[in-house]
């Protein structure tokens, strides 16, 4: 018995070791090609600009962009912090608003009928266009930015979460009823967990939109932030610096997206276990 167990556990360890090596290889397979591609593009870009002798104000070479980024590092960092703050608060508000609405609409058919069409209509309104109105109402501080970010990113969160809450198998809810589960317990044990993968899909789309929302909101009226910085640099025709700012903005979006993905991996281990199985 113990010999069998030892053999089994050794085998398991061996497969674990193989597993981590394989994981490393898989990671390399996913990370290396895009990096190599980026390198090729940068080299071609650099050569193209230098060979054709293009003016830096029209199209800066990658090296110009990187040196602009380095020279302006504290300016970029200060403004990035302003924008990151807006995004984090606005995104958090979007999550609360989106999930709250989804739960409300999922728990009442009347609420869904009354509000769902308006939820869709709210997305047909060009939100950047109402930003000036928000500025009239709330002034130039952080509030209009937070509101714009929340408005653009709550929609995918709300719609996905609502779909998720409604995706619960009715038979599972019946099973819980026969086990004597109250409505709240049915919601907590079945509906909420089955909605989580959908919620994360919404969160990922919302993360990307929140960065766009921040830039728009700052364009309408701000005295700091990366969106504001782009406008200022545009007036000075500081193209290299504009490129540098755009890269920082993209990095913020990628970081936020990565955080959501990380949270998904940690919170939904079952979801990824199942998907790995499907692929195998």
């Amino acid at each position: 018995m113990s010999a069998v167990q030892t053999a089994a556990s050794t085998r398991e360890e061996a497969s674990d070791r193989r597993g981590s090596a394989a994981r490393l290889r898989r990671a390399a397979e996913h990370v290396l090609p895009p990096l190599l591609f980026l390198l090729v593009v940068l080299v071609l870009w650099q050569l193209g600009v230098k060979v054709s002798g293009t003016d830096e104000a029209t199209l800066p070479a990658p090296t110009d962009v990187f040196s602009a980024m380095w020279d302006n590092r504290s300016l970029l960092a200060d403004n990035a912090w302003v924008t990151v703050k807006e995004i984090l608060i606005g995104y958090a508000a979007a999550i609360v608003l989106g999930v709250g609405l989804a739960v409300l609409l999922a728990s009442s058919l009347l609420a869904e009928r009354a509000m769902y069409p308006w939820l869709v209509v709210s997305q047909m309104v060009p939100i950047p266009a109402i930003a000036p109105i928000l500025v009239i109402w709330t002034g130039f501080d952080i509030r209009p930015k937070v509101i714009v970010i929340a408005l653009v990113s709550f929609f995918p969160i709300a719609v996905n979460t609502l779909d998720g809450l409604k995706s619960t198998e009715p038979e599972l809810l019946n099973l819980l009823k026969t086990l004597g589960a109250s409505r709240w317990k049915r919601f907590r044990t079945a509906q909420l967990p089955s909605a989580l993968p959908f919620l994360f899909s919404g969160l990922k789309v919302g993360a990307a939109l929140s960065v766009i929302g921040a830039v728009f909101a700052e364009w309408v009226g701000a005295d700091a932030g990366l969106g504001y910085l782009i406008l200022t640099l545009n007036n000075q025709v500081a193209t290299s610096e504009m490129f540098a700012t755009i890269i920082v903005l993209a990095a913020i979006g990628i970081a936020l997206f990565g955080l959501v993905r990380l949270a998904e991996r940690l919170l939904l281990p079952w979801y990824h276990a199942g998907r790995k199985e499907d692929r195998a």
Partner: protein, 269 residues
């Protein structure tokens, strides 16, 4: 069965009807005058063609639907609601993909207010008998079909109800796994003698497992025939080829086939 008359019945279904409004406002009769009587510890099966109202009857006994007429007595009493009183295992295993096997099988205990620790302890004691030892930490997506079904059964067992409704639990399994699962279910049932009401459309399965088999005919569903299965227990798989088994099978297949054909004719006409 004379024994069933002396002891109070576990479950009595008396003249139960279910009517509901169809899509065009017409009245659809899903179930008409269903009568059943099951003694404590009995294993009773219902066979019938699809659409014969088996599932409607199950939903009524489980407390998910109210009958339009008639009554259901559990332990001789009529209850305001049967929800939470009867163990219920639907066709799909309905294991929650976000819970490990162990946390899936303790669901009934958890809903009954048992603490997580106690529930896990109770479940751990039963894992071996249900062939799930060593798999308790797995996600359901990593289990075979037979294992998923055994986990769903353990979840039903652990909920601790005296009467259990099993709706075609082996319907989706391959023939070989199905046979093994039937033998295994008989062992489990023999060990603690819960009352089981089993739905299947497989006559062999019904005869092999049951003390009694009800045949239902379709549209509107009604109980057409009741056959006692007096094959000795414990039964082994070899009983399938005994003359008694074959005779019982034929007694049931005739009316069942008839019901199924009538239903088809109705649809075709």
């Amino acid at each position: 069965m004379s024994g069933a008359q002396e002891t109070p019945a576990k479950l009595v279904v008396e003249d139960v009807c279910k009517r509901f409004a169809g899509d065009d406002g017409e009245t659809v009769v899903a179930l008409e005058g269903a009568d059943l009587r099951i003694a404590p510890g009995e294993f009773v099966s219902i066979v019938g063609p699809s659409g014969c109202g088996k599932s409607t009857l199950f939903n009524i006994v489980a407390g998910l639907t109210r009958p339009s007429q008639g009554r259901v007595l559990l332990d001789g009493e009529e209850h305001a609601s049967l929800l939470g009183r009867v163990g219920y295992m639907p066709q799909k295993d309905l294991l929650m993909p976000w819970r490990t096997v162990l946390d899936n099988v303790t669901l009934g205990l958890e809903m009954g207010g048992v603490s997580r620790r106690d529930a896990r302890e109770l479940a751990s004691a039963e894992l071996g008998r249900f062939g799930l030892r060593g798999f308790e930490k797995r996600w359901p997506s990593n289990l075979s079909g037979g294992m998923r079904q055994r986990a769903a059964l353990l979840r039903t067992f652990l909920a601790g109800r005296e009467l259990m409704l099993l709706d075609e639990p082996f319907g989706a399994l391959d023939a070989l796994t199905r046979q093994t699962m039937q033998e295994w279910l008989l062992d489990v049932w023999a060990a603690d003698r819960k009352t089981i009401l089993f739905i299947t459309h497989d006559v062999e399965e019904a005869v092999y497992l049951s003390d009694r088999v009800y045949v239902m005919s379709g549209r509107p569903g009604r109980v057409q025939l009741c056959v006692d299965v007096d094959l000795p227990r414990p039964r082994r798989f070899e009983v399938h080829s005994s003359p008694e088994f074959v005779a019982l099978k034929e007694r049931l297949l005739g009316p069942l086939h008839e019901a199924s054909r009538r239903q088809l004719e109705e649809v075709v006409a």
